[in-house]
């Protein structure tokens, strides 16, 4: 009897990129659910728009590059980029913000460098930073959580708001937006108030902003699930949270009037999303085990430094991009010793 010959190993691969990406998407569900609950369905509209644009952009680029389209789209990496960018945007961002961000992420940050696996920068964060720098107004107009008595918008209102930039007749833009907790700590400190005072403001909940802390909890939950499923390693999230937490603790210990509680920093803004979903992007992170701890610590520290002393209230995107820059060097210096060789 004749058989086909194939080289070893013959065992089936235990994992696939498609599966990894799918699990990452599933793990985002709790966070997105919390976001929808507290900020309305705008986030779902943004996600849908982002995914559609990302898939179209990726398909066109693949076509131009003469690469297989269907099988590549199936790897879901474009969908992950789209969702990550969409949930980082303000919920009421107009449609063109999403479109510009996604096009930049997919076309420039991903495919100009050669597509999946070749991009040195996290595409979603590259898109985010481009938007933040180019359209600061739209990028900082955050909706107040529904909990704070903001006006409830229905589906039609949302579509009109995002696609036509129109609010229902009797509602003013200022009524529905408000500063994010990170933002308000920053401005209020600038006005000379102390942290304990600021914390009594209505935007704050138990740990961070009302609503916001639940969203962070959702991402934490999804992240822990990814850890448990071994889709991500513990090194980057732990490193990141540790780096941020340490910096925050030291500063808080020095002056608790000027610096917010470490727990606030760990829960506020994009900390949890960044620690578990963004900094862990394998393509742009350091790859060695020890290197990833350093990489996490570095990003965590940068997040704190930029939040407190930098020009922008939240810093995850900048910190991740800076981390991306250092990844090759970190890998170089953390090369393991080969078995049987001298150190």
């Amino acid at each position: 009897m004749k058989f086909s010959t194939v080289m070893s190993p013959h065992l089936q691969p235990v994992n696939s990129v498609d599966r990894v990406m799918l699990q990452v998407l599933l793990a985002l569900i709790p966070g997105i659910a919390a976001m929808t609950w507290f900020f309305g369905i705008g986030v779902l509209i943004n996600i849908t728009l982002a995914v559609v644009v990302a898939l179209l952009a990726e398909a066109s680029i693949l076509g131009l590059r003469g690469r297989p389209i269907g099988s590549t789209l199936k790897d879901l990496s474009a969908v992950v980029t789209a969702v990550l960018l969409a949930i980082s945007l303000p919920v009421i961002a107009p449609w063109w913000i999403t479109v510009v961000g996604i096009l930049f992420a997919i076309v420039i940050a991903k495919h100009l460098y050669g597509g999946l696996g070749y991009n040195p920068f996290n595409p979603a964060m590259a898109g985010y930073v481009l938007l933040l720098v180019s359209f600061p107004m739209q990028m900082t107009a955050w909706l107040a959580p529904i909990e704070l008595g903001s006006v409830a918008l229905n589906e039609v209102d949302w579509l009109k708001l995002i696609f036509l930039e129109q609010l229902p007749a009797n509602i003013e833009f200022d009524v529905i937006t408000m500063a994010t907790p990170l933002d308000s700590v920053r401005t209020q400190l600038g006005l000379g108030r102390s942290v304990p005072e600021i914390k009594t403001d209505s935007v704050f909940g138990l740990l961070a902003g009302k609503g916001w802390e639940w969203v962070a909890g959702g991402y934490l939950l999804g992240g822990l699930w990814l850890l448990w499923r071994k889709i991500i390693g513990w090194q980057i999230p732990v490193g990141l949270l540790l780096g941020l937490g340490l910096f925050a603790s030291i500063c808080y210990a020095i002056d608790s009037n000027q610096f917010a509680l470490p727990s606030f920093h760990l829960v506020a803004g994009a900390t949890m999303l960044g620690a578990f979903f963004i900094a862990t992007d394998p393509v742009t992170a350091a790859t060695s085990v020890n290197g990833r701890i350093i990489y996490g610590l570095l990003i965590g520290s940068l997040v704190y430094i930029i939040r407190v002393w930098g020009g922008y209230p939240d810093a995850m995107a900048f910190a991740v991009l800076l981390g991306n820059l250092t990844a090759p060097a970190i890998d170089y210096f953390t090369r393991p010793r080969v078995f049987g060789q001298k150190a």
């Binding site: 004749k2 010959t5 080289m7 790859t287 393991p336 078995f339």
Partner: protein
């Protein structure tokens, strides 16, 4: 309980061992024909010592060579040498090479055996010669001549013998069942090896799930009353049966890169090899049979067969009830490092521990290869602590220098990296290709160097000859001149 150590990485693979681990060893029927590739070990070609038409007895040497890595080959049953011709050999290349074909006569007559009365009275060199003459090689898969391993040279001090009973590849159970069935033979074989090596410490390593084998060996050691030998259970973690990994796990020592176990004072032998050493020394039987696991969902009855070396695989499959319809691939060895065979008219050789008739559901058939996403899973799994991802980039780019820098030649081709790679990249193929390119290049460079040396030598010789000629003619002229001067002088004096 002996302390054990860990090596980096490795994989816990689904074992698939229950298919065959708990059945008794069945003696395979004598095949009508025995096939003996003259290349039993890659790169070592034996010369036939028999001619077509000649009748042979079981245990008779039919091929040998004076290559230092060669061991003689013996007929596994009596019969007539039918022919010596090219057949497909069990080799990853799938190529044909010359084979001795013996038609068996069914009488199974054997050459008179010459056992050693008391091996303890024999010098190590005599035991090594006997072991070589019995054709014994490592039965774990590498087929390295045992007699050579037993002769590490005076500059290396050996203190430990390790018997490898860790069958870390999925499916394979031939060593496990042998340890259960013949613990005494293995223990006695170990003692002979220890005597030949003059070492006082012997360790038999079995995987932690091999409870029966562990108990059988413990009892056999108890009976032998030799306190120098112990059994140790080690975690079932692929590739813990790799020589350097096993030494690390059992002794904590790291065999240096490019070195051999003897460099750290250890000699490793497979448990099956120890049993055949016992058979060779104490029963005078050369190596003509071995236990082979026939397994996989692609064969009807999974079991361990004691088969004559040279038996065609199709014969063994028939004795296991034939193939299932689902059979997809025929693998010699395990699913991680074994190689796929193009057909089943190929014989088993000394190194054949397993025939895996894998069903479609058991092997990777179509991989969805994606670009490397730099996830680092490969590096986490690599038992040698290499960076498979970097090796992949550089071998793909054909940058052999960089491959060397990232220690390509320390790669044991275990396949761990490839199995965990989410991008399903055929990593090991790239490494193999880069390795053979490097070797080819080195050979070419060597050839060039030799040619250059020859050229330089010729030039030098020419120059030397020229110089000599010049010198000679100069001397000739000189002496002529002297002669002339002397002549004129005498003339003048007259």
């Amino acid at each position: 309980m002996l302390k054990t150590w860990r090596f980096h990485g490795g994989l816990r693979l689904p074992a698939h061992k229950n298919l065959s681990a708990h059945r008794p060893i069945v003696n395979a029927a004598l095949p009508k024909q025995l096939i003996y590739p003259l290349q039993q070990r890659s790169g070592v070609q034996l010369k036939p010592t028999v001619t077509p038409g000649e009748s042979v007895l079981r245990g008779q040497i039919i091929a040998d060579s004076d290559h230092f890595l060669a061991t003689p080959l013996h007929a596994a049953s009596s019969g007539t040498v039918k022919t010596i011709e090219d057949r497909i050999i069990p080799h990853p290349s799938g190529l044909s090479d010359s084979c001795i074909i013996i038609d068996t006569d069914g009488r199974d007559e054997a050459l008179a055996s010459e056992p050693v009365a008391d091996y303890r009275l024999e010098p190590a060199s005599a035991l090594r010669t006997k072991i070589r003459q019995a054709g014994i090689v490592g039965l774990g898969g590498a087929a390295f001549p045992t007699s050579i391993k037993l002769n590490p040279g005076p500059q290396r001090h050996i203190d430990t013998l390790i018997l490898n009973g860790a069958e870390c590849e999925p499916y394979i159970t031939c060593d496990n069942v042998l340890m259960q069935a013949e613990p005494d033979t293995i223990v006695q074989g170990a003692l002979i090896l220890m005597h030949a090596l003059q070492v006082g410490n012997g360790i038999i390593a079995v995987e932690d799930h091999m409870t029966e084998a562990y108990e059988a060996l413990s009892a056999a050691i108890e009976q032998s009353r030799d306190r120098r030998l112990t059994v140790v259970k080690i975690p079932a973690l692929y590739p813990t049966g790799g020589e350097k990994q096993l030494i690390r796990v059992v002794t904590g020592k790291e065999t240096p890169s490019g070195g051999i176990p003897a460099d750290v004072g250890v000699i490793c032998q497979n448990v099956g090899t120890a049993a055949s050493v016992y058979n060779a020394i104490c029963r005078g039987l050369p190596l003509t049979e071995r236990v082979v696991t026939v397994t996989g969902q692609g064969v009807k009855q999974q079991q361990n067969l004691r088969a004559r070396i040279g038996t065609p695989i199709s014969d063994l499959i028939n004795q296991c009830g034939g193939y299932q319809d689902s059979v997809e691939r025929l693998i010699m060895g395990g699913p991680m490092m074994g190689f796929a065979l193009p057909e089943d008219d190929i014989p088993i050789v000394k190194a054949t521990n397993c025939i895996l008739a894998a069903a479609e559901s058991e092997v990777a058939t179509s991989k969805e290869t994606r670009p490397c996403i730099r996830c680092g899973d490969c590096a986490k799994a690599c038992p040698v602590d290499l960076l498979p991802q970097q090796l992949y980039w550089h071998s793909r780019a054909g940058n052999l220098e960089k491959c060397k820098e990232f220690s390509l030649f320390d790669c044991i081709e275990c396949g761990c990296c490839e199995v965990v790679c989410p991008s399903q990249i055929p990593l090991v193929q790239y490494y193999r290709a880069a390795k053979s390119k490097t070797v080819a290049k080195a050979k070419e460079a060597e050839k060039a160097a030799i040619a250059k040396r020859r050229h330089d030598f010729l030039l030098e010789r020419k120059a030397r000859e020229q110089a000599e000629r010049a010198e000679r003619s100069r001397r000739k002229k000189e002496s002529l001149a002297k002669l002339k001067a002397a002549e004129t002088a005498t003339e003048g004096a007259e």
